[in-house]
């Protein structure tokens, strides 16, 4: 019989719900995730926006491509900074020949005019896009672009113009969001075990238990959103951490696309979630330290388009990047202490709340306490010879048959006094 070596060696990823610390981190990530209901809406909304634009005189036959960029393109969307339930989604509208030769502000103004009567709460022209504000707090950024001919992967120019009048600062900016998403996908291949469990929990959170039973192979057909790798989960946690740390800042903050680039670099199969967050943080810290050592600003460009500079608007100073490195050190140190088992659970909760937000951390811990307590009351837990407790959701149910180091539970009732 032939053995398919590739299948044997394919990284399946670690189930983030196997390890207690990873479990609470994964529950936090679930809480800040774009929920299934809004994911479905997002997709239908951007298709509706395209149809609306194509029905206008200005844009008829002038939309070559309409595709997600940023977090939506790499399945890393989380709630917007300062919120637990608002989501920013980004679409690139690649425009046709009529728009070539127009100034950036003209293109943005045309787009704004075409969307002016769109049935949303507000339509707002920004420096690089037009934003649609929906009643359920979803924000959809539509960024107009012009394809740069003779380049790869939809490399394009996007508009940059503050308005309301033309300015010498108006310009076109190179970008290749599509190529970057492809690069990220190549760097973070599907880790089936991790993705399946996370997807099941994602649907479970939304009360879609029946769909949660779907095999991971069926998932793309049923729902094209799936966090495919531990690196993406770590990226979401890092973005959430940044959002919390910079909640009160009024200026620019470390950009998501830059963090995504580092997640792509740091990606490595079969790592625990906490280890991946630490690895990702340390990778960024090292690059910032290196730049600061020579008094330079951190420079990160799109790996498939050198002119697409992810750090073009942040950092503005060495001290700004050093501040971010300091925050990342705090995150990495706290997670390392948790991994070593050196921290009391209540201190751990205080730190997690400070890192990721009170509400989502409290909700994650409550969820775990209820599930684990129920498992213990039903004697569903197992034990390792090293003195660890395994809960049934960790996929270790069949383990006693093959692993003599695991013992089963015997029912008992906690008694005693309150002191």
């Amino acid at each position: 019989m032939e053995i398919d070596v590739n299948v044997q060696l394919a990284p399946t990823g670690l189930n983030p719900f196997d390890d207690p610390l990873d479990r609470i981190l994964a529950e936090i990530a679930l809480s800040v995730q774009l929920p299934p209901s809004l994911h479905g809406k997002a997709k239908s909304r951007y298709e509706a926006v395209r149809r609306h634009l194509e029905a206008t005189t200005a844009f008829i036959d002038q939309i070559d491509h309409f595709y997600p960029q940023g977090s939506m393109a790499i399945d890393a969307t989380i709630s917007t900074r300062g919120t637990d339930d608002e989501y920013d989604l980004d679409i690139v509208s690649q425009l046709g020949g009529r728009f070539r030769g127009m100034a950036p502000l003209e293109i943005l103004t045309e787009l704004e005019a075409a969307l002016a009567d769109y049935p949303v709460q507000k339509v707002l022209r920004q420096t690089r896009c037009v934003t649609l504000f929906y009643a359920d707090k979803m924000h959809l950024d539509v960024t107009p672009s012009l394809r740069t001919y003779g380049t790869f992967d939809r490399e394009s120019l996007i508009t940059h113009a503050k308005g309301p009048r033309r300015s010498v600062d108006d310009r076109f900016v190179d970008m290749n969001a599509y190529g970057f998403a492809q690069w990220y996908a190549r760097r973070t291949p599907l880790e089936a075990r991790m993705a399946k469990e996370f997807h099941r929990r994602w649907l479970d959170h939304a009360g879609l238990a029946a769909r949660a039973d779907a095999d991971v192979d069926d998932v793309p057909d049923q729902c094209d959103f799936i966090v495919k790798s531990t690196a993406t989960l770590a990226l979401q946690l890092l973005k959430r951490y940044r959002n919390v740390r910079y909640a009160t800042y009024s200026g620019r903050i470390p950009p998501s696309v830059m963090l995504s680039y580092y997640a792509g670099l740091a990606a490595q199969p079969n790592m625990s979630l906490s280890a991946m967050v630490i690895r990702l943080a340390n990778w960024i810290i090292r690059d910032i330290e290196q730049a600061s050592l020579y008094g330079r600003l951190l420079h990160v460009a799109n790996p498939v388009c050198e002119a697409d500079v992810f750090t073009d608007r942040w950092p503005e100073s060495v001290s700004q990047q050093n501040e971010f490195a300091g925050y990342l050190r705090e995150l990495a140190h706290s997670l390392e202490a948790m991994r070593k088992g050196e921290m009391s659970p209540n201190t751990m909760m205080d730190i997690l709340r400070g890192n990721f937000g009170d509400r989502v951390v409290t909700r994650a811990a409550d969820q775990i306490a209820t599930e684990v307590g129920d498992d213990i009351q039903q004697s569903r837990q197992l034990y390792t010879r090293r003195g660890g407790v395994l809960l049934p959701s960790v996929g270790a149910v069949a383990a006693p048959l093959v692993n003599p180091s695991i013992a089963t539970a015997r029912p008992h009732t906690f008694f005693g006094r309150k002191i």
Binding site: P20, L21, M338, G341, E342, M343, S344, P345, N346, M348, M349, T362, A365, D366, I368, A369, T370, V372, G373, D374, I376, Q377, Q381, Y383, R385, R386, G387, G388, V389, A407, A409, R410, P411, H412, T413, F414, F415, G416, R417, K418, I419
Partner: protein
């Protein structure tokens, strides 16, 4: 009725199941022993001591780190323990339910139950809720059931 286990049988069972525990102060005449071991049920590592003398219930203490109290908590400052407050021992089973007898091994009862207790204790510290069920002394069974649900 199952035979009562000797201290040597208890020691052998502990050695086989829990290599991180070691037996100390073995007294075969008194049929007693003390085990020390380290565990990490979920988030934190703990050093445990188990004392046992045939004819008594096994006693489990957390030697380090010191158990944290939550003043004002509805479950008490520290739930499901035996006094004294300054040297609490874990209460792992209901004596009325015959969940433990001297015919059972400490290795298959007391140690895993202590791991359960520590797991619930950690979650209690994290959420303020004791979700592992159980009954405090003086509480009627129906009342206990309400709390565990």
């Amino acid at each position: 009725m199952a035979a009562i286990l000797s201290i040597d049988e208890q020691i052998a069972a502990m050695k086989k199941a829990w290599p991180r525990f070691s037996a100390r102060r073995i007294d075969r005449r008194a049929q007693s022993a003390r085990w020390l071991g380290s565990v990490r049920p979920q988030y934190r590592s703990y050093s445990l001591e188990i004392r046992y003398r045939l004819g008594s219930f096994p006693e489990v203490r957390v030697l380090s780190p010191e158990l944290i109290r939550l003043p004002g908590n509805s479950e008490g400052e520290l739930p499901h323990v035996y006094p004294p407050a300054e040297d609490p021992t874990l209460c792992l089973f209901d004596p009325r339910e015959n969940e433990w007898t001297a015919a059972l091994t400490i290795a298959s009862t007391t140690v895993p139950w202590a791991l359960d207790w520590l797991t619930c204790y950690e979650l209690w510290l994290m959420t303020g809720r004791w979700t592992g069920g159980g009954r405090h002394a003086g509480m009627e069974s129906a009342e206990a059931t309400e709390i565990t649900q």
